[in-house]
């Protein structure tokens, strides 16, 4: 059985992709999920992965050439299989057979994947869901007699490697009025966006701008967040580090906090009465939320072509469930009192284990915390939950001998490790965040200040 490799929609708004580089040669054995090629979308360079095991028999799209979403660009098959029929159909417009689903479907899938939290997954999985056309399984039998075909899709406006064509004036006007040109329909030759298109889009007002529809993956920036386009240095950092270490170039910062005062506080609160009991985890959540409010630079999403910084803190907390884990969200955690966080965290964890969480309860987080301290894990590294740019892994609290004022003594200590997406968070930035967190946790009275 042969598998068609088609140009996939690797971004929710992608209409066409340029094949930057084939990473597999014809004749190479490939595995399902393995990267076949790098593809430049309208937003970034993405990996196109194999959807089946087999041999990459034929590459149909040369490097540096573009193909509309849904077009056949390669064939994976067993070594001796006859693929002539498939190859001869190459370059044809995507058939109605589901190779290129309508944009609505793309949007829906994009939303689902991108909604942020749920369960952290591997990049490959995430990409698999975001990309639209599933590679079509076909047998090597000769194709059925040609039936009626759906009309070929209109030529995408961006004819040039996915680039949106626009006049210099239109670009300047769009920039002046804060309009996303990607969302404007061009009326000039080849879909070029010209002055009148920008004027019409501006006149239509923000509500009517298709920008909101065209960027379905994430909610548009609102009053609680601001989008910052990537600077060249950010782009370069992102590209270089991604080359080095997977799709999310992650680095880790570990710190050990003194927990004596937290323990004292917790004991004192419990002594007042059962209703004042809080867990260590609750205190850590409160401290992280407070620190995030002071460091919006790490309270952010990586959106491929820009970084979205949030002014509200929605804290995801990883909860182990029977067949995996899920990350319910404590919304506006920085504005909630410890008792509220405690109550909410308990309730969310309980319902998570009962699998009763609603989607809106596990999506929309801006940063996450994962705690394996209760399992006696000293320290660990957590996997970032994209598009978030950081996650904090909490280790076990334990008594350790340490030196205080020249004397060896025992103190309650806890190790935390922050995983940082280096495309957004540089080392010093992550370290400053942990510094703030240390101050809060080692002086927990600041949490009620």
């Amino acid at each position: 059985m042969a598998t068609k490799v088609v140009m996939e929609a690797l971004s929710p708004t992608m209409e066409e992709g340029r094949l930057v580089k084939w990473l597999k040669n014809e004749g190479d054995q490939v595995k399902n999920g393995e990267t076949l090629a790098e593809v430049e979308t309208d937003k970034a360079i993405m990996e196109l992965v194999a959807r089946a095991d087999g041999v990459l028999r034929k590459r149909l799209l040369p490097e540096n050439e573009a193909a509309p979403v849904g077009q056949l660009i390669a064939v994976i098959a067993s070594p001796d299989e006859n693929i002539d029929a498939l190859v001869s159909g190459a370059g044809a417009a995507p058939s109605s057979g589901g190779a290129a689903p309508p944009p609505a479907e793309v949007v829906a899938k994009g939303n689902e994947t991108a909604g942020a939290s749920s369960v952290p997954r591997t990049a490959a999985q995430a990409q698999g869901e975001a990309s639209t056309p599933p590679q079509e399984k076909v047998t090597s039998a000769p194709p059925a007699a040609p039936g009626p075909r759906a009309p070929a899709p209109a030529q995408p406006a961006s004819g040039n490697g996915g680039r949106t064509r626009s006049s210099p004036l239109a670009r300047r006007m769009a920039s002046d009025s804060g309009l996303d040109l990607q969302a404007v329909q061009g009326s000039g030759p080849g879909g070029r966006i010209i002055k009148r298109d920008v004027e019409a889009a501006v006149a239509a007002g923000p509500a009517a701008r298709p920008a909101a529809q065209a960027a379905p993956a994430f909610q548009a920036a609102g009053p609680d967040s601001r989008d910052v386009p990537l600077t060249q240095i950010r782009k370069t950092i992102a590209r270089r580090l991604s080359e080095s270490i997977g799709p999310i170039p992650t680095f880790y910062l570990t710190a050990e906090f003194d927990m004596e005062r937290v323990a004292e506080m917790r004991t004192a609160m419990a002594a007042i009465g059962d209703e004042y009991k809080v867990s260590f985890n609750d205190i850590v959540l409160k401290a992280v939320a407070t620190a995030l409010a002071q460091h919006p630079e790490v309270n952010a999403h990586w959106l491929g072509d820009k970084i979205r910084y949030f002014s509200r803190v929605h804290l995801g907390m990883a909860v182990a469930i029977e067949d995996g884990l899920i990350t319910p969200v404590v919304f506006d955690a920085d504005r909630k009192r410890m008792s509220e966080i405690s109550r909410e965290a308990k309730e969310l964890a309980k319902r998570a284990r009962e699998r009763k969480l609603k989607p809106e309860e596990y999506t929309g987080s801006t940063f996450s915390v994962s705690n394996l301290g209760m399992f006696g894990i000293d320290q660990f590294t957590a996997i970032i939950n994209p598009p978030e740019v950081g996650i904090l892994a909490i280790g076990a609290l334990e008594e350790k001998p340490i030196v205080v004022d020249g004397q060896v003594t025992t103190r309650k200590r806890m190790r935390v490790t922050m995983s940082c997406d280096h495309r957004v968070v540089d080392g010093a930035l992550g370290a400053r965040f942990l510094q703030t967190l240390r101050r809060l946790i080692e002086n927990p009275l600041m949490l009620v200040y």
Binding site: S167, P168, L169, R171, S187, G188, P189, I194, K195
Partner: protein, 327 residues
Amino acid sequence: MPVITYRDALNQALREEMQRDDRVFLMGEEVAVYQGAYKVSKGLLQEFGEMRVVDTPITELGFAGVGVGAAMVGLRPVIEFMTWNFALLAIDQVVNSAAKMLYMSGGQFNIPMVFRGPNGAALQLAAQHSQAWESWLAHIPGLKVVAPGTPYDAKGLLKSAIRDDNPVVMLEGEMLYNTKGEVPDDEEVLIPIGKAELKREGDHASIITHGKMILVALQAADQLAKQGINVDVVDLRTIRPMDLDAIMSTVRKTNRAVVLEEGWEVCGVGAQVVDYIQRDCFDDLDAPVVRVHQADVPMPYAKNLERAAKPDVAKTIAAVKKVMYIE
């Protein structure tokens, strides 16, 4: 205000400048006894005598060189070429002597002279006598190049050219000599070299042109106005030095430019205008600049082919519509 021909405007300019400064003299083929091949020098021999209105043999290189020598010793010659097509024979004196003397003499000899004559095509004069030379001449550092399209501009620019202390090339037109326009007789007409003029105002697009093509541009603008399209018509008047401010301000206003010239496309004056536009007005452009020019062939003799080869009103209108994304 009196309405006079382009030819009479030039005649007035010569007469006034020869009256004003006795170092000014006119030299060329048929300028004296015959009163000029196009009657530009009519009456000048009678008024100023044969020392100042000098007939020459058919030796363009020779009399152009005599002019350069006269300029070096302090006279202010006006050299008339019967057409700029014939001036090819004198190009060495224009380019290598007149244009470079100030530079190569270390500033000792400036060359206050004018080379003038009709440029470009007339009607059915065939390939060798129908050529527009402005891009050749404007290419040369050391020359100033003016190309007036109206009687007023012709008078004002010729007077300024004669008073200029450097060699000035003036491109007239056989088809222009009979055109008429208002030229005041109660004031001195002097037009600064290097200054363009907005000949017509509109918001939708800009036609940037010079010389004879100003007439084409204005006709095109009239017809476009009937279709509700209003264009700026910028007359460069001087090709070197070019009035960049005028180009920038019209392109910044309309965001769309058509550059119209009589000559060929490759390395033409229009190419230079487009370069200035893309350098300084890149972010103002809503469409690629479109050029209108002669077809890239030797000018055909056959009337229908000649018409097809020349830039004209219809081609200009089509270009304006193209930059406006109409049709």
